[in-house]
């Protein structure tokens, strides 16, 4: 238990720093940035308490918001995906999730990709809706969601492959 706790603390801090110090300065084509801090929410142990996850997501989001001066948009989007995670888990992993035995190191690549995609697109859509905050610019919202999602998903998959321990 203690090691799980420390792993997630380190992951939390590392993701915040990587996001704030490196990824927010990419600005590919002027506005496309990946937001891979949501990996923390995606890879949180399935069995753990949902309340803790929702609270931690809020904390994560508000930390990012504080660095970026964006009010509460990251917090809102993170809390939403933390709350919606069981539904997304169920739809992407199916019966494996029902048996409560999802381990992110061992599941097959296809369903992991679906899981990341659902989570990222939902997060980014809420994020950019809150950021732009105007229905008349819905095209811009979709555009930003699409491009940033592609970037985030690619990066998330690469990061999980690099940092995953080989299943013995």
């Amino acid at each position: 238990m203690n090691s799980i706790f420390s792993i997630h603390t380190v992951r939390f801090i590392a993701l915040v720093f990587v996001q704030v110090l490196i990824l927010n300065h990419i600005n590919f084509l002027g506005y496309i940035n990946p937001y891979i801090y949501i990996l923390f929410i995606a890879l949180f142990p399935v069995k753990n308490n949902r309340i803790i996850l929702i609270l931690l997501s809020f904390l994560l989001g508000i930390t990012i918001d504080m660095f970026l001066d964006t009010g509460g948009i990251h917090a809102g989007a993170s809390v939403l995906i933390a709350y919606a995670r069981p539904v997304i888990l169920k739809s992407s992993f199916g019966t494996v999730y029902e048996h409560q035995s999802v381990k992110f190191n061992t599941v097959d690549f296809g369903s992991k990709l679906t899981y990341f995609t659902f989570l990222t697109v939902l997060h980014h859509f809420v994020l950019f809706t809150l950021e732009i905050f105007s229905i008349s610019k819905i095209i811009l919202i979709f555009q930003k969601t699409l491009f940033s999602s592609i970037f985030t998903i690619l990066l998330s998959v690469v990061v999980t492959i690099i940092f995953s321990r080989k299943p013995k």
């Binding site: 929702i54 504080m66 809102g76 732009i132």
Partner: protein, 271 residues
Amino acid sequence: MQQIINFIIRNKNFLLFLLLFGLSLLFTIQTHSYHKSKFINSANFLTGGVYNSLNNINSYFDLRSQNELLSEENKRLRVLLRNSEIHADSVFTDSVMFKQLYRFYTANIIKNSYSFSNNILTINKGRNDSVQQDFGVISSKGIIGIVDKTSANYAAVISILNTTSRISAQLKKSNHFGTLTWDGKSPEYNQLIDIPKIAPVSKGDTIVTSGRSSIFPKGVPVGIVEDFKLDLAENYYEINVKLFNDMTSVEHVYIIENADKEEIENLLSNN
């Protein structure tokens, strides 16, 4: 009572989600109105400190170009200084008039931002350096923004690349004034609206600040007219202004304090 408690326990996840999501919405809405973002801003000890140490490293990489900018400005100021010395002999100056109207402070931008629709910068001067809310911020090339929140050592600046920013600006040649806004699209352009139709606008005209507020002095450069069209009501021009500043790479800035600001504001608020 028992049922209410049961309901809360059964739906605790959902209620917590609603609470936190509502809180985030509240913070988000606050940032959309001027001077309202209370808690969550980057001018605090933690985020300011992190950005400051990052800036210490990053600033080495463009030392050369920043030095060139500064020496260019020095050259321009030297020319001004020489010219004013020549004039000084022939003009009678009353020593009472020697009060400084505008005070300047130097600062560095430690967090730049230009890819959102509401961009806020962080600078490394704060209340301890007597920087306060509503001071203007300019660079050697032109206008940057207005100080919003301050902490002891840092301040958050509302960039001109912020859809809530409203700054009074005018045509340099004819004193017709309007409001400088941003449509959230390109960091190279700002929009000047409410210029009366009668104004003689043409492509390439210079836009400067108008000095009609107590924040910026008159004549701080903003940019040049790229293109312009009449608005929907056909009474006012909407002008696309190409900024002098490359907002994606600014570092050394000046903070402007208007020494008479309090007096002007008291006067206005009494009416």
